[in-house]
Amino acid sequence: MTEFLETTIDKFIFRVAKDCLYNGEGVWAKLDGDLVKIGLSDFVQQRSGDVAFAEIKPEGTELKYDDEVAVIETIKVDIAFSSPVSGTVVQVNPAMEEAPEVINEDPYGAGWIAALQPDDWEVDKARLQDPDKYFAQIKIEAQEELEKGNE
């Protein structure tokens, strides 16, 4: 059972899964057997809005850390995300094609976007933020957005 760090800012509740690591854009990575699953954090999906389309790099694509792995089109923005892992895309979540709204509905579960065969997970792990650090980051970003909206 995944545990979460949780904060409420204004009327929004943001959750950070404690069993994932995060890059600065809010892409999470989690070791799953030999593979690393990736997806978007709850904060990112709420800030970006309802997902209309998700284009993920196809299976077989070789990625370096920070290469573009996905482009998400939402009702607010088109946004590209960088891979938190170096490796090969071995599976794209089939839901991304037919029902990308799962990113909004279950960002840390059914809304995973891809699974990669990592080149060296230990190296990538060292570059990513732990949940506590990412949690601190989103609290600052959310507060900044709130203040921007109140101006």
């Binding site: 809005g49 309802d50 209309a52 389309f53 009702i75 709204e101 909004n104």
Partner: protein, 153 residues
């Protein structure tokens, strides 16, 4: 403009769009609603602004309670649908702008106060889909309720 007077609006399908002011998909929902009530099915439909329902306007609540409603939501919060239901109305069809866009990706809406061409076309497509629903609602609400009661034994 739609007329909220009781006499003119009996048995007209109520169209309730999203009130998302400052949001592109909200603008598409309202544009589609205007298109339906002013041009596509002016004699069969009436517009009820979501804001009036939220404020508890008596005429609007009565229109919603006494007629079938089609809602158009701009996002997953589905405020229009929820508010009609809370006002005692019957939602016969709830449209989500996002779903319509997913089926017409070439019509990407942009802009807020002034929609781009894609947004205007998307609103037109949505208006046509709403018109089809309105056309299928030949039976009055009272008759529907009677039929439902009959079928329930």
């Amino acid at each position: 403009m739609s007329d909220l007077s009781k006499e003119n609006n009996q048995n007209r399908v109520v169209i309730v769009p999203c009130s998302g002011i400052g949001k592109t998909y909200g603008s598409v929902s309202r544009e589609a609603a205007y298109e339906v009530v002013e041009n596509v099915r002016p004699t069969r439909t009436q517009l009820v602004p979501l804001s009036l329902l939220v404020l508890g306007d008596d005429n609007s609540r009565e229109s919603v309670a006494q007629n079938q409603a089609v809602t158009i939501d701009g996002c997953k919060l589905a405020c229009a649908t929820k508010m009609v239901e809370e006002s005692g109305g019957t939602v016969v069809k709830d449209f989500a702008v996002l779903d319509v866009y997913r089926n017409h990706r070439d019509l990407k809406p942009k802009g807020i106060a002034e929609l781009n061409e894609g947004g205007i076309k998307l609103a037109s497509v949505l208006a046509d889909e709403i018109a089809q629903v309105v056309d299928s609602l030949e039976i009055s609400k009272e008759d529907q309720l009677e039929l439902r009661g009959g079928s329930n034994g």
